[in-house]
Symmetry: C2
Subunit: 421 residues, 2 copies
């Protein structure tokens, strides 16, 4: 079980969490719990670091910020004990949860699950601070914002857990953003691949890396809310959204517990920006001159389109980068104007990427065609297209985001039945 | 160097501390720094623990409260780096600083100084969170309030430091409490034995245990203020009070840097309470019946007087215990009324203990006589007396504390010269 910062914000809420944990333990489960810091605490600690040293040393930053989860882990263990559940905390260096040396953005290398398994077999609930580990040099590391999700999946894998329940402030994964489409439906299950595509295009329920790790380690993850009514939740075995393998998804469909859909969800992302380089010489290697320097600077290039231009031997190259990297990308390209040989550089951050995602489209043609026709019918201009095996994405004008999401949600039959009907 | 919670309260004050540290490093010293949590932080964390679990598990309590020093250690390392001093933090488990298993009141067992010494030789300032260590079971331990002083002395011993400078909110050890006697003087040096006696009777500058450890390990400790003007402080090699061995003290006296005094200081303690058991049978073993149960309950008995009573074969027994243990002691004794055979139990917490302390009295008779005569001259009644090799203590009425301290301070020639004269 993993609880986020909102669920851990203060001793009253921690008591609520302890009761949810007790219910699972009372149901005969062996339980390990991964916790975030109290909401706001990590920001407070990061601020201290910035005040102390604007260009902070990530190793010392990790020492400071990891303390937030240390506090909540100790407090949850104390609270569990106070309601009759034996419990103890296991800090990152105590497990140990080994990570690569990369401070402030570490990745899990290995977890020793032996101590945890022995403790759980003794009937103890194991409480583990998320977000933190220890490096080979025996120093504290942290895994970047949202890293507690990854901690939880890694711990679940290490103890061979049946399930990794991630409690958040939403009650599951939806067919699309419910703030845009009132008829969005909560999904009973999605596959790892779908969740990865949904997360990477803006459905920020789980840290992307945690989903990748769950897929690699085959950990069944459930996303659910810690704020739903206890009894309502316990009426259903899986009150949230299960994230599972494609095999398990197929089995659920065969058992009739899930409907087979071509499209599982619609995601949108307004955090990309478009760059157009005009009149690039159309010769071998010219594209490499553009994208090699961006890759070296760790700037992720997403959609790429090449339009053979008006003049022979020249082409316009259009691509997207994260908005936060736009200025850097632009400067890098200007520096290489001679080498690349482009004429003008045009940028536009008023774009959005809309994606339809679903494992069902592997075996069903026509998903892309439906998308293009539906958008065209409403006069929405498509500026670029990319596809993967389970996703079709289009670039459109940012102002048309909400309209496009609503149109597609209806087009793929995802709208919840009208309650008034 | 050790800095307390007031000195570490916020990033602005930590910057001040970093500048003091830099000055020592710039003077050619290799420096290790032990820090407390920000003032108020430990109380905030203890409160969380109490809210989580009134009867808290000391092992989890330690996980929570140790985080306060972890934060300030990381922040001081960051701040030192920002002013050009290479620095890194060393947490208790990283050194390791091994303690006994006794959570929330651990004692240092050993420190591995190798890593620290190597780091300091590389020119790095080592920053160590005070108050915390690690047990043989690899769990975090803490050493009780004021434990950072002990951490500092233990680290100083482990790295064979020339000096352990403890920065506090007072600028040294005084001949007596300056709030009572305006003419109290700051001492240039005191011996470990004197400091122990002064600390144990209420001059709360250092944690008593830290002084005992300094004596055992022969660590030269200096008490000084982190709030004095930097330049004034640097004008003097030792701006605070040095706590040294008797040999070093004798050397200072011979060099004329210290005056030989029979009495070094006057301490007072209002935290004791008096218990009188009347008409206890005066037979072998009756005193054991009183004090054995108190000892088993870890109640410290201090002064003891036996007055052979009015009736033959009976005696009144008077003794003192800490006020905080009075109710418990009284209950224990009432339970054993039959066994002990006393008639009445009379208690009084309106008492004070006044002590004159000085290694000089070892070789000088008449110190006690001066004390008794001076107090008698002012009509102050002495209710009990205890002595050690370097201390004479008397029990008096609490209301007469200030008067007694002033009278004795003058009687032993400790008053600072009158500036107006």
């Amino acid at each position: 079980m993993k609880f986020g910062g909102t669920s851990m914000a203060g001793t009253e809420r921690i008591r609520r969490v302890a009761n949810i944990v007790r219910k699972q333990a009372a149901g005969g489960n062996q339980v390990a719990v991964v916790v975030s810091a109290m909401a706001g605490e990590t920001d407070r600690l990061i601020n201290f670091c910035r005040e102390a040293n604007a260009l902070y040393d990530a190793a010392e930053y990790d020492v400071v910020v990891a303390s937030g989860e240390q506090v909540t882990a100790g407090l949850l263990a104390l609270t569990l004990q106070s309601i009759g559940c034996p419990a103890r905390s296991w800090l990152g260096w105590q497990l140990p949860l080994k990570t690569i040396e990369s401070h402030a953005s570490a990745r899990v290398e290995s977890i020793d699950g032996e101590g945890l398994i022995a403790a759980m077999e003794r009937g103890e609930i194991a409480v583990i601070p998320g977000f933190q580990g220890v490096s080979d040099l025996n120093r504290i590391t942290t895994m970047g914002r949202g890293g507690s999700d990854t901690s939880a999946v890694a711990v679940a894998a290490a103890v061979h857990a049946d399930r990794c329940d991630i409690y958040t402030d939403v009650d599951g994964v939806y067919t699309t953003d419910p703030r845009i489409v009132a008829k969005a439906r909560k999904l009973r299950a999605v596959t790892y691949e779908e969740m990865l595509e949904l997360a990477s295009v803006g459905a920020k329920v789980l840290q992307t890396r945690s989903v990748g790790l769950a897929m690699k380690e085959n950990v069944r993850v459930q996303v659910l809310s810690s704020f739903v009514d206890d009894d309502a939740a316990s009426a259903d075995d899986y009150p949230g959204t299960m994230i599972v393998s494609e095999e398990e998804m197929n089995a659920l469909v065969e058992k009739g517990e899930m409907e087979r859909q071509h499209v599982t969800g619609i995601a949108h992302d307004k955090n990309e920006a478009k760059i157009i380089l005009t009149r690039v010489p159309d010769r071998p290697g010219s594209v490499a001159h553009i994208f090699d320097p961006l890759a070296k600077a760790s700037i992720n290039v997403d959609m790429i389109i090449q339009n053979v231009g008006r003049d022979k031997g020249e082409t316009d190259v259009t691509f997207t980068v994260p908005q936060s990297d736009l200025a850097r990308a632009q400067a890098l390209l200007e520096d290489r104007r001679e080498e690349i040989g482009f004429n003008r550089i045009i940028t536009d951050s008023k774009i959005a990427k809309i994606s339809v995602v679903g494992v069902g489209m592997k075996s069903h043609a026509g998903v892309a065609a439906t998308m293009f026709r539906s958008l065209a019918d409403r006069g929405i201009n498509i500026q670029a297209i990319t596809t993967s095996e389970i996703k079709v994405s289009v670039m459109i004008d940012e102002d048309e985001t909400e309209l496009a999401v609503r149109v597609l949600h209806t087009a793929y039959g995802l709208d919840a039945p009208d309650e008034a009907a």
